[in-house]
């Protein structure tokens, strides 16, 4: 009898050990893949000959060891893009973290904020479609931002008070409601912006517009490393991202209002049982979250442009950042934004270019791989908590 029990136990032990080893396999694979990716960027890649064609290790840039200047530029590109991502996504994460509301209208709010700021800048400078950077002063950039953000904050507050307050806790219904709002807002943006195009014929040109940075940002800064000169506007963007991050951190972790909001994230019922007006916190979260969408829109519209249809793209950006970073934490949003921006930029720059007409952009596939990897190990994101 004991022999039998022993043999059963031995078999169970062996099975468990095998399973433990088996469980380590994905981890090893992931570490190996990451190590290979780093080695690839640092040492293995080489510049493709101009005629196109070449081996599996030809890219637009050479390896980081041979071409450190390009490498640094891509790092800076990633950092600055991450800061724009962070500004938009932190608003999304704030609303999601506190209220468990997936604000599907975040992209539409982003777009609306961008167009409002654009119209204000246009009317302030009195210029036509494209404004020379030298003719915009700081005030003419800042005021549109300071008007657009409260406008979108009001839109967000109205959305929350009218449509989301009475069905709290019904996450799916709230997500569907915000989808409905985003459809209407996006359609109305097409109908009404930009204001200057007033005829049907002009509308055929599409409605992509871009804002203009203040004139003093229009120069390149010598970084004193590897002869790299970098756009001051993008560095300003990075500074803004850091400022938003630090501001949010101070607000959430160093003020009483922030402590109340974090308590609400952790345990909404207990917080309101302690006599805190949780409804007020919810309203504040929506105001700040929506305003951040507008701030991000102004920043990115100045750097790049905005056009209808991009609401989906920025909703995706926010979603990926929050999924990867985990909800309810600004560190998660920051980590998610950084990872996402690095993966996007590096896969666009360092993946093999084999021929002229194929495979220019693998980046979306790598975005998916990033999400899959993070979720495989941490279903709630890198900084996500609880079940």
């Amino acid at each position: 009898m004991t022999d039998y029990a022993e043999s059963v136990r031995g078999r169970a032990d062996r099975a468990l050990r095998l399973r433990a080893i088996w469980r380590q396999v994905p981890r090893v694979l992931v570490v190996g893949a990451i190590a290979f990716a780093i080695a690839y960027v640092l040492f293995i890649t080489e510049v493709s000959p101009l005629s196109g064609g070449g081996s599996w290790r030809t890219t637009t840039f050479g390896s980081a060891v041979h071409d450190p200047g390009s490498f640094l530029k891509i790092v800076l590109d990633s950092l600055t893009f991450a800061s724009a991502l962070f500004i938009v996504a932190s608003g999304f994460a704030l609303i999601f973290g506190l209220m468990r509301v997936v604000n599907m209208a975040h992209g539409a709010f982003y777009l609306l904020g961008g167009y409002i700021a654009y119209e204000i800048q246009q009317s302030m400078t009195g210029q036509g479609f494209s404004i020379p950077t030298s003719e915009v002063n700081t005030w003419e950039w800042l005021l549109p931002l300071l008007v657009a953000a409260p406008c979108i904050a009001v839109v967000g507050l109205a959305t929350q008070q009218i449509f989301l307050r009475w069905n709290q806790g019904q996450e799916l219904r709230q997500a569907l409601i915000t989808i409905g709002i985003s459809v209407i807002v996006a359609d109305q943006i097409i109908a009404h912006f930009p204001r200057a195009t007033s005829t049907v014929a002009q509308k055929f040109g599409g409605n992509a517009v871009s804002m203009t940075w203040p004139g003093w940002t229009d120069r390149f800064v010598d970084m004193h490393v590897w002869n790299v000169e970098y756009s001051l506007a993008r560095l300003v963007m990075f500074a803004l991202g850091v400022a938003v991050g630090v501001g949010l951190w101070l607000w959430l972790y160093r003020t009483k209002a922030g402590i109340v909001i974090r308590a609400g994230v952790d345990d909404e019922q207990m917080t309101s049982a302690l006599g805190v007006n949780i409804q007020k916190s919810f309203a504040i979260a929506f105001v700040v979250g929506s305003a951040l969408a507008a701030v991000g829109a102004v920043v990115w519209a100045s750097q790049s442009n905005i056009a209808s249809g991009q609401d989906g793209q920025w909703l995706l950006n926010s979603l990926v950042v929050v999924i990867v970073g985990g909800m309810g934490s600004i560190f998660g949003a920051a980590a998610g934004a950084l990872l996402y921006a690095f993966v996007l930029n590096f896969s666009a720059s360092y993946l093999p270019v084999t021929s002229a007409d194929c495979c220019g952009q693998y980046s979306p596939i790598f975005t998916f791989i990033l999400i899959a990897l993070v979720l495989a190990f941490r279903p709630r994101g890198l900084f996500g908590r609880g079940g």
Partner: protein, 359 residues
């Protein structure tokens, strides 16, 4: 199956269903071809896609926004496999020129396999997280199709409906065949879903929907069941995708982008996310509105031409918002409530599956 054992509500609903079935069977023979070849065929195939979403939501508790992506993936795979390029086929694709029947089977298998992989990645997430992950699938699918020019590119693949299996014949010359195929597949899909949810797998899936933790402690593999359900839904979506490319002849990233994803969700929600029948009802309502309200402009909110906003999307958005706010069960939910309210069926037990637990 004895009609006398049915509840009065079942008698009523099955009576209506039989009437509708007879009507759509004789429709092409009696009425105009615009309705049968445009509106109804489109209703059938989008109804199948919406049914795959409704199935996941009603019985798995998973609101998936990836169904449009899977639908498009099936179309793109079929387009790559069957088209032959050459004169008249300038669109980008691999142009493998396979036998259409083989390509059809491979398309469905591949889409189901892709669905299983996507489902496996998302299977440990629930509720709103699942919604977000599947939404990223859909957006990523759009970009992959748009940017990997070897398989599709932004202009997509055209002329796919010239390559149909020999046993179907040319659907360009005989649009009624496509109508009846779409109708037949719709009926089969409906019956298949009704069958699957009664199998042990379907019952377990409903257990997983309501009590994932308890099912896990009972020894059921919860992520596996979610993955399999997602794979089954991918199979249904692939059928809809194949029918779509036969119907419209083309597939492009624009068919799977965010607006289209939301359109499919709108169809499912208008019809009702808790009853399979709602998928076709919602698709029908959506497509009729789309076809007849296109040119209507909302006073004060529209710009000018229908291309420029303020018309169809605003109307459908408002309608969607009203339905979600007033009746989360959609039109089928309104129907259920009406029947329950009317005195004829007082005391009858509702046979609606319980609403998915909010998580």
């Amino acid at each position: 199956m004895n009609p006398r054992e049915w509840t009065p509500k079942q008698q009523l609903e099955r009576g209506i269903a039989a009437g509708v079935l007879v009507l759509v069977l004789v429709w092409p023979a009696l009425f105009g071809s615009y309705w049968s070849h445009q509106i109804l065929t489109e209703t059938f195939l989008f109804g199948i896609a919406a049914a795959s979403l409704t199935f996941l939501c009603a019985y798995g508790g998973m609101v998936s926004l990836a169904q449009t992506a899977l639908f498009g993936i099936a179309g793109v795979i079929l387009g790559n496999l069957v088209t032959q390029g050459g004169p008249g086929g300038t669109s980008k694709a691999l142009h493998l020129g396979w036998d259409p029947t083989v390509a059809l089977i491979v398309t469905i298998l591949m889409t189901t396999a892709i669905g299983l992989v996507l489902g496996a990645v998302a299977s440990r997430s629930t509720g709103i997280y699942f919604l977000m992950i599947t939404l990223t699938y859909s957006v990523i699918a759009t970009y992959v199709l748009g940017q990997v020019t070897k398989i599709s590119g932004f202009s997509g693949i055209g002329g796919i409906n010239r390559y149909t299996p020999g046993w179907i014949g040319s659907i360009l010359d005989h649009p009624n065949r496509l109508y009846y195929i779409a109708l037949g597949v719709s009926i089969v899909v409906y019956l298949l879903i009704r069958y699957v949810v009664r199998t042990p797998f379907g019952i377990t899936l409903q257990g997983v929907r309501d009590e994932p933790l308890r099912m896990n402690s009972l020894g059921y593999n919860v992520p596996l069941h979610r993955t399999l359900a997602f794979g089954f839904a991918a199979f249904l979506a692939s059928l809809a995708g194949v029918l779509y490319v036969w119907w419209s002849g083309q597939i492009a990233p624009g068919n799977v982008d965010l607006p289209e994803t939301i359109n499919l969700l709108v169809m499912a929600v208008i019809g009702g996310l808790w009853r399979i029948e709602g998928a076709w009802l919602g698709a029908f309502a959506f497509i009729v509105i789309e076809n007849y309200v296109r040119d209507f402009q909302v006073p004060g909110l529209s710009f000018g031409g229908t291309l420029f906003g303020g018309s169809f999307n605003t109307i459908i958005g408002i309608l969607f918002l009203v339905i979600v706010c007033v009746s989360p069960g959609g039109l089928m939910g309104i129907w259920d409530r009406l029947v329950a309210a009317s005195g004829r069926v007082r005391g009858a037990a509702p046979r609606v599956p319980a609403a998915p637990a909010e998580q």
